[in-house]
Symmetry: C2
Subunit: 456 residues, 2 copies
């Protein structure tokens, strides 16, 4: 019997059918939903009709005329693209055990939507229409300039020309666009987001999975902001190579705590931020000099090692050799006796992620496993990799969410610390992250610099 | 620094202003919100204008003419009632540290709502309008017959006469009712529930607390259903008087597991239900013979006793005397070293409660502390009492949520078990719940029968 995850409360498959004119953030929302659900171990995939169209139509870049609904030949190509996308989607549901698919396209006419609805019903899939409706011209223009001029359709084309052509393309769609209607569509399951969730209309949401997606989408915002992540400073237990516990910081850990305000200030400037810590002593001590509002969360406490709490990896290997091996074999699923697995941590972090989506600038001071899980959410790191990521001590990580990914900067404090990174198949941890000069990051092959940029 | 609870993420005070005709479930929703928030330790209170009107107007029962908007004298009385309610509410915010108030009244005119809006703004309180709009005549009539004929306004009056008068009262309100309008009210924070959340319109929800209330309300339903609660059968650890751990059932515990299907069948009849267990061995063993779909939830695991896990209360008193006393002094807040408090358990149970609200018939097999927390939610048990409730082993509890409370039935299996109930100020637990014949329930003073009814 599998342990509860969101997906298996009901045996439901959902197709989220995006609706809306170009440049309304449909792809942004689609990708966020996929990332969120995947992080929660729910099989989710986005089917972007534009990509199918580009594959089918070849490399030639279409101009706005291609999107004229009177252009019969182009219309046939576009019709073919959506058919291919939907066929792939159905195959994915039926052969790959898909749970939530996002059909990312304008789906701007009622006729198109009825066609998809019928296909879904025939395949026992719940269709949920998700319309992004926007009449805030500033928002639309920002979206056009930020995202669409980097679209494959406009590669190598002068941004001004691209913007003009894109506006023309939008007007072609406007001529046939039929928004969802509270009366006409009252028997369908749908969500209408008006000007990025300023107003939300929710109709006939009947399953848990749908309600989770809706709540998530309601909490998204697009105001610019940053999130900073740091592990606590080196602790006494780190030095003694023990896991878990609730020990104080080592002298070097206290040094990191003293230096942290300066690192944060350098990265954040004068923006107002809030510090979140766990309830364990070592994160509170690390945050002690930070001149910001602070909040403690039990949900940010370290992965519970159960009976192994307070042991070294050598001791665990000796006393629980089978467990030690089982954890190496599947670190994400392995649950310490009387403790937690990475999966368990993800489930308890879900409200934290939801709250992070709502908030603006937040600095989180937490623990290795918890930080890996949060990082995995923002950077879309697969489950088999996330428990093995290197997140060294005495390093501040800055995340800047963008329309199609997240920028990462790592800022090292240049204060030595033991390494707590245990490689697969050994019970040894490295001596010092800083001194070894050995970057174990799975996220980048670049040499570790003091300030280093990655992006998804 | 307080540990995170929902309330203190932002320093916000919210007035939920109910809107809607009589018999639209406003009081039901108001009371559910108050119960939910109180359970999450958020200071919440409902101010029902009808109660103020009855206090002010005295014992005389008003008929529908009283609610005619042309009746100047009655109108003055009603105006006075709402003024008193709002004054009390503001006092509660300002003097008692109130966080969420619900103003439960029809608030059916735009003028009334603007007046409340202005008052809220002057007091730095966020007004959130929550309208229950319903044109489903079956729903309305069901609501009228279930709830309103038991209203203090109709005490001792023939139900048919009462219904007729009440329908007339509703029509008086209909003549002046102005629903919230997506265009006119677009700058206000509001939620419109159409036919019990079949459609939901959400406008300008800007704070976390508001979004939590909205998500909760979205998940409510009013279909009849029952929830059954049971602790696992007596475990080896129970017999050895040890707390925590992950032991198997004792022979008597296995007997309970064998008898449970019959107890459930007797209480549930042929309804389809789903069984939820924790991830610990003893709940799985208790559920093993139940012929229903089963789901495991980590969030249903017992309160984590940290370093005290596996000890007897005598040992805890000896080894950690200060902790032992601290826990007795404030059992709700006390967090075991490296473990959890009741408050922590409530926070991790919140998704379970949300899911329970969505579902229909569920049987939960879990642990003493977790069961106390779930029971406290449904029965509105105050925090200082809930950790001290007696929830004996080998007893099935049936909860039937109703419009204004929850009916409880306790069904004893008549299989002896040790008592795991520890009274305040002692480290002793009773010998056997069944044999002692000593009811420790704080919920009822009735003798413990095999089937026993309580209600809130």
């Amino acid at each position: 019997m599998p342990v509860y995850t969101v997906s298996n409360v009901q045996n439901i498959r959902v197709c989220v059918v995006m609706v809306g004119l170009p440049a309304r953030g449909k792809s942004f929302i689609s990708q966020k939903i996929v990332r969120y659900l995947s992080w929660l171990s729910i099989q989710a995939k986005c089917f972007n009709v534009g990509n199918y169209r580009r594959q089918h139509a070849g490399a030639e870049q279409p101009n706005a005329d291609f999107f004229d609904f009177g252009n019969k030949e182009a219309y046939k190509i576009r019709q073919h693209a959506v058919t291919m996308a939907v066929e792939d989607m159905m195959r994915w549901f039926n052969e790959k055990g898909g749970v939530v698919a996002i059909l990312d396209a304008t789906n701007s006419t009622s006729e198109r939507r009825e066609w998809i609805l019928k296909l879904c019903r025939e395949n026992a899939i719940e269709p949920m229409f998700l319309e992004s409706w926007c009449d805030d011209q500033d928002l639309i223009l920002r979206n056009i300039s930020e995202v669409k001029t980097t679209s494959p359709d406009y590669q190598g084309i002068d941004p001004d020309v691209a913007t003009k052509d894109f506006l023309e393309r939008i007007s072609k769609y406007e001529s046939v666009y039929e928004p969802l209607d509270e009366e006409v569509d009252k028997d369908k399951t749908f969500v209408r987001l008006i000007n990025v969730a300023q107003q939300v209309i929710i109709n006939r949401i009947e399953t848990y999975l749908e309600s989770r997606i809706v709540f998530y989408v309601m909490n998204l915002h697009i105001r610019p902001r940053s999130i900073w992540l740091s592990r606590h400073g080196e602790s006494i237990y780190n030095v003694e190579k023990k896991i878990g516990g609730d020990s104080h910081l080592s002298p070097r850990g206290l040094q990191y705590a003293s230096k942290l305000p300066e690192l944060v200030k350098r990265s954040a400037g004068d923006v107002d931020l809030t510090v979140w810590t766990s309830t364990l002593v070592r994160t509170g001590e690390t945050a002690q000099h930070l001149p910001y509002k602070q909040l403690q969360w039990k949900a940010l406490d370290e992965l519970d090692a159960g009976v192994c709490d307070g042991m070294t990896y050598e001791e665990i290997e000796e006393i629980y050799p089978e467990d030690f091996k089982a954890r190496d074999d599947n670190k994400y699923e392995y649950r310490y006796r009387g403790g937690e697995s990475y999966r368990d941590v993800v489930i308890r972090l879900e409200p934290i992620i939801m709250e992070l989506e709502r908030q603006e600038n937040i600095l989180i001071i937490t623990h290795q496993a918890v930080l890996r899980c949060i990082y995995a959410y923002f950077m879309n790191v697969p489950q088999e990799e996330s428990p093995w990521m290197s997140i060294p001590l005495h390093t501040l990580i800055k995340l800047e969410p963008r329309a199609y990914g997240t920028n990462v900067t790592r800022i090292k404090a240049n204060i030595p610390a033991v390494s707590t990174y245990k490689e697969k198949g050994t019970s040894q941890v490295g001596e010092s992250d800083l001194n070894s000069g050995n970057s174990r990051s799975v996220l980048t092959s670049a040499p570790e610099l003091n300030e280093q940029q990655e992006s998804t």
